[in-house]
């Protein structure tokens, strides 16, 4: 009799407790879903290319989106990483192959080539002159605007070590961090828009 009463008591408590636990678990799942779901006000970008035209497009979209109130994150990898090197000599302490990469991929924002019609630099110079004449912002000024509008830059650590690029060789940028693919994937999964340039 006593045993029966205890087991009945247990049953009642369990009946009360189980739905409550269930609700809490569901709520936690929903909260997680909510925080993981893409934010339509966030833009993630992979900047893979290092040519002037593609970098201009990337930075115009980034600064434009930031001016529309979006949170913007640019992930630089491969030729994109090499493109945001400063002009100037390489740092010391590099291996022979790393040094060769440095020679093959000179830094300097004003040295970026065009993907088409570069014509050994003649096309690029024409394009730059036209941009100046028509009041289109150049790459350094777009990067300055990106800084002002809090565009975040993430640089792929792997592409840096592969090409022997050192942090101090990159352009000066306030919000620049060094990371791997997981950081990009996390930011991209939370952004409503993701672009690959």
């Amino acid at each position: 009799m006593n045993n029966l009463a205890t087991s009945m008591n247990d049953a009642t408590t369990n009946n009360m407790v189980l739905p409550m636990q269930d609700i809490v678990a569901r709520l936690e799942r929903l909260e997680k879903q909510q925080s993981d779901s893409p934010d339509s006000n966030a833009l993630s970008m992979v900047v893979f290319s290092g040519e002037l035209d593609k970098l201009l497009a990337a930075f115009i979209i980034a600064t434009g989106a930031a001016a529309c109130g979006m949170r913007v994150s640019m992930f630089f990898t491969f030729w994109g990483t090499a493109a945001i090197k400063k002009d100037g000599p390489q740092v010391s302490g590099k291996s022979m192959v790393e040094r060769m990469f440095g020679w093959m991929l000179p830094g300097g924002l004003h040295k970026r080539k065009l993907t088409r019609m570069n014509m050994a630099g003649v096309g690029r110079r024409m394009m730059v002159r036209e941009m100046k004449k028509k009041g289109t912002p150049d790459l350094p000024s777009l990067i300055e605007i990106a800084k002002e509008t809090d565009v975040e830059i993430r640089v792929c650590e792997m592409s840096m070590s592969l090409m022997g690029i050192r942090k101090e060789e990159l352009i000066d940028y306030t919000d620049m961090t060094f990371c791997g693919v997981a950081s990009f994937v996390e930011s991209a999964s939370k952004s409503g828009t993701t672009l690959f340039i």
């Binding site: 115009i60 600064t63 434009g64 930031a66 001016a67 529309c68 109130g69 979006m70 028509k134 009041g135 289109t136 912002p137 605007i145 509008t149």
Partner: protein
């Protein structure tokens, strides 16, 4: 008292008019109005898109020859 300030953005090309407009908006108080003059032809569709995205109110958009005069009210 809500204010109406004039801004001249003549000569600026994409994305600068939107970038400057965003900067101007930050200096205004809610319900303040501003009038900007732009000559970038992309600004007519772009200012509508910008207002949709940011939530500010586009009061008027008048195209006169090569210039576009836009009036915007700041929202919270």
């Amino acid at each position: 008292m809500a204010e109406d300030t004039m801004y001249d953005l003549i000569g600026l090309k994409c994305p600068m008019p939107i970038v400057k407009l965003n900067k101007i908006m930050k200096t205004l108080a809610v319900n303040d109005e501003c009038t900007v003059t732009v000559d970038d032809p992309a600004f007519t569709p772009d200012v509508k898109a910008w207002c949709n995205k940011t939530g500010h109110t586009l009061l008027s958009c008048v195209v006169k020859a090569d210039t576009i005069v836009v009036k915007i009210r700041k929202q919270a």
